[in-house]
Structure formats: C-alpha cells, structure tokens
C-alpha cells in the first residue's frame, strides 16, 4: 500500500494528462499512457517492473508486465480513453492500491471484447428479440462488443449534453454523475430500450472492471498481481492442506497460474 509521502510525490494520472496537454486534445493514446513514456504512475511496483517499463516497448514480453500490450479491439484512441476513465471510476486508485487503469483492466476488456465474450459465442442469440421483465435477464440482440461500442458513444454524448465536454475530460464527480445515470437506466442510449439499455451496458462495465482487476494476470489485467495483493488473495496455490487447520490469518505471497505477472 502506498504511504502518504509516496502518494503526494506521485503524479495523479489526471495531473499528468493536464501537464502534457493531453487531457484537452484528442491525442490520448495507449502509447502515450504506455511504457514508452517511462512514467511511473505507481509507487508500489517492484524494481523489476519499473525497469521493464523504463526500457519501453516490449513486444516479446509477457503482457502483464508492460504498460501497453497493444490493443486488439479498440482501434480508436479516444474510445479507449473513454472506457479506461469509466473503469477507473468503477475501481479507482486509492490508499489500498492501484485502480483499474494501472491494473491494466482496460487491456483486459480489450482482449475480451475481441473474443468469445465480446461476440457472445456461448450465449443464446437466436431471435426474436423482445424487451422482457428484469427477471428475464439480458434480451438485447446486441453482442457485448456492440453494447460497449454504443455505450462509449453514449457516455460521450451524455457528457457533451450535460457538461459540454467528452467523458474523459470531466471532473471525477461529473464522471460519477454520468455513470450513475447509466446505472439507473436514465441515460440516453440513442437506441430503443428493446434493442439495448444503458443499465445493461453499465452492468457489463462494472462486472468487466472487477473481472479485469482480479482475473489471473495472463488476461492482461491485475498487473503485478496487485489486484490480488490488495485483496489478500493468494491466486493459484496448489493446496492449503498444510495451513487449513491454523486458527491464525495467513498472509501468502500470490502466485499466478502460469507464473506470469
């Protein structure tokens, strides 16, 4: 956990964007936020990780250990920035440790949206599609990837509407206001409710953020297993048979499934 001194020393991500002028322009990209800048947003990474960041681009390295593993789904930098900022509000950096962005959660989402999750490969997607009761669950014809794409557009249009600004450029409390509207189903999603609902998008945004924060780092989130460290989850351990009967609380160094970080 970051102590107070370290916290004050380090730039907040927003400050960084402001200083570089990036916050107001449209040029925010993965590369700028990524390892090539050599900017360390964190205070609690191991030396090894800091080094690998400073040496910059790292095509061949394990994705979890680098700031920018590249993107598969989000080709548009501004879209990626919007969803990254939204995820950070769901799971913000705080005294406990890093938030969604530093954990690489947006990169987790990026890979998921490009695959079976985004394409609803294991979901029943035969029509007819009709709006149902809440107890009947997801009934949209849209895949998760489509819902996220519409959701990002809607986050920005809603922000323009309320604050004359893109979502990523809002103050934190403004971002929260906007997200709360999505959560409550009050945002304008630009399509009929039968086709897709803002609260469904919000639900996915929330669950994907938690999944990315705590999934094994091979999925590109939970960088440095920092999500697990915050929570006290030891990840993949072969067995607890040696400790299961101890009455005292056990702190165990986490381990990932295939040894990646």
């Amino acid at each position: 956990m970051a102590d107070k001194d370290q916290k004050e020393k380090k730039f907040s991500r927003r400050d960084f964007l402001k200083t570089t002028g990036a916050a107001t322009g449209g040029i925010i990209g993965g590369s700028l936020l990524g390892g090539s800048i050599g900017m360390n947003f964190g205070s609690d990474m191991s030396t090894e990780e800091e080094e690998s960041q400073q040496t910059g681009e790292s095509g061949g390295e394990e994705s979890g250990g680098t700031e920018n593993p590249g993107r598969i789904f989000f080709h548009n930098d501004a879209d990626f920035e919007t969803i990254s900022q939204a995820m950070e509000r769901i799971f913000p950096e705080d005294d406990h440790g890093p938030g969604a962005i530093k954990l690489g959660v947006p990169y987790f989402l990026d890979m998921q949206l490009a695959g079976a999750y985004g394409n609803n490969s294991k979901e029943y997607m035969q029509g007819p599609f009709r709006e149902g009761e809440a107890t009947q669950g997801y009934q949209s014809r849209l895949t998760r990837a489509e819902l996220f794409t519409i959701g990002i557009e809607a986050l920005n249009s809603e922000s323009q509407n309320d604050y004359d600004n893109g979502f990523a450029d809002l103050e934190d409390d403004q971002k929260d206001e906007i997200l709360t509207k999505f959560e409550g189903g009050d945002a304008d999603f630009g399509i009929p409710r039968a086709a897709g609902k803002p609260e469904d998008f919000f639900g996915l945004l929330r669950s994907a953020t938690l999944q990315g924060a705590y999934a094994d780092p091979m999925y590109r989130g939970n960088r440095g297993m920092e999500g697990w460290k915050m929570k006290g989850f030891p990840g993949h351990q072969h067995a607890y048979i040696q400790q299961i009967d101890t009455d005292s609380f056990q702190e165990i160094e986490p381990q990932s499934l295939y040894g990646g970080k």
């Binding site: 769901i90 913000p92 294991k122 809440a134 107890t135 669950g137 999944q211 999934a215």
Partner: protein
C-alpha cells in the same frame, strides 16, 4: 439419412451421476450399455491448470453451451416467456460427468419427512396446513426414507463420503465410509455458537474426501488437498467424487459400457404398434451433423430434469400438465430453493480464500418438520450451514447495507471485508404450486430445431415466509459468533433468473404411487412405457432443505435395480 446402429440392452441419455450409476450397475450385471453424451470426454488430466476463476467460475468453461440450447422463462402465465440467453440462476452441466464434475460435493440425504410430507403434515397439523386451497400441491413421493436407505448407503459408499452422524437426520444402516473433513477456525466458531443456542451442529457430509478411499467398485478417490477451486471447477487431484473417477471407470472396467460423446439425443423412438414400450433414441452427431437411431431394450433418461422433460414431451410420451385444469402430469411440481442467510462483519481476518467445496458445518434444527410449525405460516425449512468453499476475488465483494456497487467506497469495503465476513445460511425447501411448471416453448428452438423447454416459475408466500424465518435464525447464529455487525438477507420478491442461486432445480417428471399425479413409479419407470426410465432431481415431488445429489444418487441406484430386473423379466416393477 438416418443410420440405425446395432441394438444395445440399455441406452442412457447423458453420462453424469445418474447416467454413470445406471451404466455401472447395468454393465456389472452383464448388460450391454451405451451412454450417449452430447458433450466431450474429460477427466482429471483436463484439470491440471484449473485454478482460473475467470475462465471456469465466471465464464462457465465446463458448462452448457447456451448458444446451442437453453430454456425460456417467465414468472407467470400472463407474461411472454423469453430465452435465458446467458447462464445465471443455475449452471447446467455438459460433457462427460455432467454437473457432477463441477459440483461442490455437499452430500445430504433428504429427511424422512420429505418423502411423506403430505401424510406426516396432515397427521401432525391437520389438512388445512397443506393449503391445497391456495394452490399448493404437496404430495408424498411414493417411497419412504426407509425404503430408500439402502440406496443412500450405496451412493455414499460409491462416492466415499466423509461425514459424521446427524442426530436430526434419518436412521442410517452404516457410518459414512470416511471421517469428516478438517474443522477450521470459522467452522469452530459456528459450532460453538450453534451449541450455545442449543442446536446440533455436525460436519457437512462431503464428497471432497478426508482421506483416500477405495470404493466397493474398486475405484480409488484421493484425499482432498483443500485447494479452494472446487465448485465450478474439476478436481486436479481426483479427490472430489465425480462420475469420472467413480461410476464411469467402474462401468468401463466391465467391458460392457461404451460412451459415445458428441451425441445429442433429440427423440425417444416408439413403435406404432406397441404403446407400452419405446424402441430406442434418435440422436445427432454434433460434429458431423449425421443422424442416428440407437435401438435399445431399455431407455434411461439421465439428461437432467430439463432435457428429461423435453425428450418425453417432444416424443409425445405422457400427458402435458395444464395449470388451468390440472390435468396431465408431465411438467408439474417444478420447484427450486430459497436461501435465508445473514453476513457477519468481524474485525478478525479469516482464511476465507482457503477451503473446499463441501467444507462446512450445519444443523437441521430448522429443517423439515424437526421443529413445531403449529404457529408458523409455512411448512418445512432448511439446513442451516456455514461453508468455507474458498472465496475468490472476482465473485466475492461483500459490502455493508447501503454501500454503492462501485467506486471508492465499494472498493475499500469489498477489499477489507473479503477476509472479515462470514456467512451463515439456510438452504430452504420450496413446495410445489399449481402455477409453477414446465412446458414446451412454441417459438424458440435449440441448435437441432427442437423446441426449448419453457419454465413458468415464481416464488410463493410459503417460500417468502420460510426464508424470512430462517434469515432471523441465521442472524442470531452470526451474532452469537461474535460479529460486530450483522447484515440480513432481504426476502425475495419475484424469482429472478439472472443471479446465481443454486443448481437445485427439481420436478417436472415426478415420481409417485399414482399415475394420475406422477410421471414415473418408485423405480422411476414410466407409467405408460415399461422399458423407459426417467431419473434425476426431476423425480422430486418437492424440493427439500438440502442439496439434491445424495437423493438423486439413491434414486439412480433404485432405478438401476429396476432396469436390471426389467431386463430379466420384461415386466412392470412393483
């Protein structure tokens, strides 16, 4: 083009616990058995890298592919049923072993009261207590606990169950084959609290074995390593009793059993000239798309209750239940479960991330009719338990009342509470109501053009009342355990198919002693077709206050006996 295969003695549709048990017993008796399984082969070697919460617990790697088949659902008849597009409320099994691969292994016998619930309730409280006039359809099962006891014993020995006697359960002919699991700090706290409140806590009977065990079929189940990735996962140690490490190899060892994977059964075949029998099943090879007929002397449906129901219905065997007239039996008495629980917040940190699927303690003081219901506005109850199954971080985010579900406060609380909360809950019975039933959907179909099953289900006042009562009892236990703060569950309103609740669906193909009110007799033999057996939790006339599989396993052993006897003399079983 349909290819007709060589006839076998017995065909099972699906190879999970029920299919595996039928196969092992029939094959040991010398019958040639074919197990048609829609999914693929799998076993312990497939679980060497299974400690991946996201893949297995969140994305349901081991379970049914919903793009191929699901059900439709509505709460009430005036709503339009819509497909359950993603899995949620329950997790349907698929592939060799079925849900038995990724179950927890909490292995309880239903109570004597469950099997004779109508007679015993009437005797003790009078007929009004059954609330027939309010639409409840409580009925006896056509079998008693004592009749089923030998089969319970058999299932427990096959699975090597680890446990200790339950002073509030039915009589046992023998002890559990292996001793109980290890008692952890939180279990001991529960035990002390329960004792001081005057209850009778015991270690949960577990299919995660406390020690290695060779079962009567000669199959060895290993000792549980408390790896904490158990329910929703396969066991990499072969230490969780599952069909793949017990009945399936036992069946294969006889040389009389063959599994044909990738074989999705779509119909039970009949002979136009003989309406007392069936002739086999029709299936589709899911990889080649080819169609086959598998003729068999005996057909056993072991495909879980939804598809057992569906195959009967699409094959026009038996009469569909009509909630309006209450005529017909196929589809009636669908039940589920409600949970009455409370979470305690502690300062102390517990090793919540360690555990095993069936590591827990429980008491039955508020289960069945173990307590007086004279002044209560409901019947039955549930098994009250604490478990330590291995809390994982994506799914475990406990917060206090009124905390937002995201943002800074959510993050802080969900992190701090991860190791500082313990939950106690009763798993409550739900009782049948005339409005809750299975039907066939008229609009949506599966990947093989067969209609989906349509579920009409809602919780009843009985469910809400039993839940409300057990919530309060659970809260008292948590408080007695020393919690600084207690958060009680809220009572359910409408049944919601989205959040996971339990894979304890029951009914639809219920057993009984009267063809007017049941689908199969107490050997699970179909009332209309002598050589057709239907087995699973679909046979339950109501759902009890426990997990179902010990009772399902006992019924499957009973059924196997019927199948073998039928194969000998081709008669109805009595």
């Amino acid at each position: 083009m349909v290819t007709e295969l060589d006839k076998v003695d017995v065909v099972t549709v699906g190879v999970g616990w029920t299919g595996g048990i039928i196969a092992a017993e029939a094959a040991k008796a010398g019958l040639k058995v074919m197990g048609l399984e829609r999914g693929h082969e799998r076993g312990t070697d497939d679980y060497q890298n299974v400690h991946d919460e996201y893949k297995y617990a969140i994305r349901y790697e081991l379970m049914q592919d919903m793009s191929k088949e699901t059900i439709t659902f509505r709460n009430t008849r005036d709503q339009r049923a819509l497909p359950m597009r993603e899995m949620g409320s329950f997790l349907l099994g698929d592939n060799l072993g079925g849900a038995g691969t990724h179950w927890n292994g909490q292995t309880w016998r239903f109570l004597p009261y469950d099997f004779e619930i109508r007679s015993m309730t009437e005797e003790r409280y009078g007929a009004e207590k059954l609330k027939d006039d309010e639409g409840y359809r409580i009925q006896d099962w056509g079998i008693t606990y004592d009749e089923l006891e030998p089969y319970f014993d058999k299932f427990e020995k096959t699975a090597g169950i680890s446990g200790e006697p339950n002073p509030l359960g039915g009589d046992r002919s023998d002890d559990y084959p292996t001793p109980p699991m290890i008692k952890t700090r939180s279990l001991k706290m529960f035990e002390d609290a329960a004792n001081s409140l005057g209850y009778s806590p015991i270690m949960m009977p577990s299919a995660n074995l406390s020690e290695a065990f060779e079962n009567p079929d000669g199959q060895t189940i290993q000792a549980c390593q408390y790896c904490a990735f158990c329910e929703r996962f396969g066991c990499e140690y072969g230490a969780k009793s599952s069909p793949e490490v017990t009945v399936i190899p036992a069946a294969r060892d006889t040389g009389n059993f063959e599994v044909r994977p990738h074989s999705n059964v779509v119909e039970v075949m009949k002979d136009d000239d003989d309406d007392s029998k069936v002739t086999g099943v029709r299936f589709i090879d899911t990889r080649s798309g080819e169609e086959f007929i598998q003729p068999a002397d005996v057909v056993v449906l072991t495909s879980y209750l939804f598809n057992n129901y569906k195959l009967l219905r699409v094959s026009e065997i038996g009469e569909q239940y009509d909630p309006e007239t209450e005529e017909g039996t196929l589809g009636r008495n669908y039940c589920y479960q409600v949970f009455g629980g409370a979470v305690g917040f502690f300062d102390e940190q517990f090793n919540t991330f360690m555990g095993a699927g069936a590591l827990g303690m429980a008491f039955d003081d508020f289960n069945g009719d173990n307590y007086d219901h004279s002044d209560l506005d409901f019947l039955h109850g549930g098994n009250m338990a604490i478990t330590q199954t291995g809390a994982r971080p994506i799914a475990t985010n406990t917060t206090r009342e009124g905390t937002p579900s995201w943002g800074a406060r959510f993050k802080k609380e969900s992190i701090e509470n991860y190791t500082r909360t313990l939950r106690v809950q009763a798993q409550c019975a739900t009782l049948p109501h005339r409005d809750n039933y299975l039907d066939l959907d008229e609009e949506y179909t599966d990947a093989y053009d067969v209609p989906l099953v349509q579920l009409t289900y809602n919780f009843t006042d009985q469910d809400r009342n039993v839940q409300g009562y057990t919530i309060d009892r659970a809260a008292e236990v948590v408080e007695e355990m020393g919690a600084g703060e207690v958060k009680k569950d809220t009572v359910v309103e409408d049944y919601d198919i989205v959040p996971y609740q339990s894979t304890h669906n029951t009914g639809g193909t219920i057993m009984g002693d009267d063809p007017e009110t049941s689908v199969v007799n107490n050997y699970l033999q179909h009332w209309d077709r002598d050589n057709l057996f239907v087995v699973g939790a679909g046979n339950f006339a109501h759902n009890g206050g426990y997990n179902p599989t010990a009772t399902v396993g006992a019924l499957a052993y009973r059924c196997a006996e019927g199948v073998i006897e039928y194969a000998e003399d081709n008669r109805r079983l009595e």
